[in-house]
Amino acid sequence: MKSCYLSGAASAVVLLAMAGSAAAADKYVVGVSNTLIGNGWREEMICSIKAEAEASGLVSKVIVANRNGGPSEQIADIRNLISAGANAIIINPSDREALNPVIKQAAERGIVVVAVDQAVTAPEAYVLTNDQVDYAKIGAKWLFDKIGGKGSVIEMRGIDGVPADADRHQGFTEVAKMYPDIKVTTVFSGWALNKTAQVTKDLLASGKEIDGVWTSGIDSTVIDAYKTAGKKYAPVVGADNNGFIGQLINMKGDGVSGAAVSNPPAVGGAGLGLALDVLQKKEHPHVVKITPTIWDNDKEMDKLKAAYNPKLDPFYSVAINVPPYTHYTLDQIIACKGP
């Protein structure tokens, strides 16, 4: 009786193993590591990975390791994704250097690692990012020119100590040096809606003269705070978030003026597209940088209107695709469902 059970169990194991290898032969397991949660941009990034996995038809499973943490937590997550059998791992790195040893370990096992949004220095990794220095530069330049090269400007940064924030601050500072009559006050938004609202409210209540606001991507909240306070709108630079673009279009008559700088979270899906290409032995350069563009509501209203999508979450970026790497539809990214 006992041996009967055993052989039954053994054959079940064999069957499972066969099913496993059959699935592995033509479909890939994809791991995702993200260490900032509760952030619309990062959510959209993960949805774009799931959508690309669905659209490609090459992926059997997407495993998302998603929690708040630093390099230590991310190293653990990447190790777990390796152990879980991932063929490709898409990471939004929490640090440039710290993940290099674990990326090397993954590469030694034949796993394709793509860092998106922020760069890593590991030579084994593929890197696909938005140019964060340039992101800040073009926005700052637009703002300084808009207010005639002189006045008092708020620099609303993200989280102190995070690579993308440091890069953007560098870009902003470089441009500010060329405008000696611009006075900069720096505050931190923590890339969080509640903190941004509080900081903006405090600034407006302080009676400080503000000629322009540059934000690191939490933008519509600033316009909302102006509206609540009943103050005359100062020009605001934000990202290509759906809600902000809606304000630039619909509130122009109320005096809202501003510009949206592109920062597509679809780099996530693009990273997967690149990884799948590499897994199928197609050649790719190891570093891909996406150059940001800027649209303001003076001259590029048509582009803003074309991009605005009332179906999309207000805190989602309108740039849902990164050609030629992504292949999914708008409905697929909104559904946010992987295979």
């Binding site: 390791a65 630093g70 230590s72 937590e73 190293i75 653990a76 997550d77 777990n80 640090d95 100590g161």
Partner: protein, 315 residues
């Protein structure tokens, strides 16, 4: 050892064994690579839990643990960047001293000002956190490979990662002097009933200051462990350990009202709290549930402890 204490001491390791067995069942390839992952992931948290346990047993609570770990992390990584292995060991001693100093600051502020621990350490936590950013503005620094190998290596075979040994030695280094000397008695007495302790001649303020001092040393070890496992200093990386350390000690059976609990529980709890997100990745479950599971685990453990106490009183 009373039977109750015996049950409490064995409960956590038993729970970990069951969790590991279940993990192996769910993920048959769980092996040496994953044991190494577990050790690396749990190492800083285990020391944070040890630091928190000492303070809570003495009747306080330390909300500056994450910032203290961050300071040790950035201090070691910035000083060791161009140092060799021997110099790095000497720097480690310096970092330990700095950690003891931060702990002492906490202890003195709490003891002299009589501000509640929650408020005092929340405030010093902000100050220390700012200090970490002043030492290292953005993630960077480094340490020699031999130093990183102290925690990241596998010198005793793949099944016994160095990280596990550093964890045990590090916790023992702060716990043994407390447990094996009169200090332990003073700290437990101060935490369990400060008035009774005072009337029995215990200098409660001194006892609690000493607890903070040892807690600071544990944080320094935790911060250096973070340097060893990540290879860098990150001024914000400590932030996650403050509340996780509270979770670990509660699961590990340390009473938040002070005077009760040991060190095995919190350390094993740190391993459990590291294993839970690993399992979620293996099973492909959205790790946002990890928060839910962590919370549910705390409620269950606290309830179980309550029922156990109730059952013992009835008996």
């Amino acid at each position: 050892m009373t039977s109750g204490a015996f049950v409490r001491a064995l409960a956590m390791p038993a729970l970990l064994t069951v969790a590991l067995a279940l993990t192996r069942l769910a993920h048959p390839t769980f092996g040496a690579f994953d044991i190494q992952s577990l050790a690396l992931g749990a190492l800083p948290l285990a020391l944070a839990a040890a630091a928190q346990a000492i303070v809570v047993i003495s009747g306080g609570i330390d909300l500056s643990i994450g910032s203290q770990i961050a300071i040790a992390n950035v201090l070691s990584a910035s000083l060791m960047q161009h140092a060799d292995f021997r110099q790095s060991l000497m720097i480690s001693v310096l970092v330990l001293a700095a950690g003891a100093g931060l702990g002492l600051v906490n202890g003195v502020v709490v003891a002299l000002s009589r501000i509640p621990d929650v408020v005092a350490t929340l405030t010093t936590g902000f100050i220390f956190g700012g200090g970490a950013l002043l030492i290292l503005e953005r993630p960077g620094g480094g340490a020699p490979a031999a130093y990183l190998n102290l925690a990241a290596g596998q010198d005793f075979g793949p099944w016994l990662p160095n990280g596990l040994i550093v964890m045990i030695l590090g916790v023992a280094a702060v716990w043994a002097p407390i447990r094996l000397t009169r200090i332990g008695l003073l700290i437990y007495a101060a935490g369990s009933d400060p008035i009774a302790a005072f009337r029995s001649g215990v200098d409660v303020r001194a006892a609690r200051t000493i607890a903070y001092l040892f807690s600071g040393i544990a944080c320094a070890i935790g911060g250096m462990a973070l340097t060893m496992t990540t290879g860098i200093g990150a001024p914000l990386a400590g932030a996650y350990y403050t509340l996780s350390s509270v979770a670990a000690i509660v699961i590990g059976g340390v009473s938040l009202t002070g005077g009760r609990g040991g060190m095995v529980g919190p350390v094993v709890a740190a391993l459990l709290l590291t294993l839970a997100p690993m399992d979620l990745v293996f099973l492909g479950i959205d790790p946002n549930y990890g928060q839910v599971i962590q919370g549910a685990l705390i409620v269950l453990v606290v309830m179980a402890a309550g029922f156990y106490a109730y059952w013992r009183e009835r008996k």
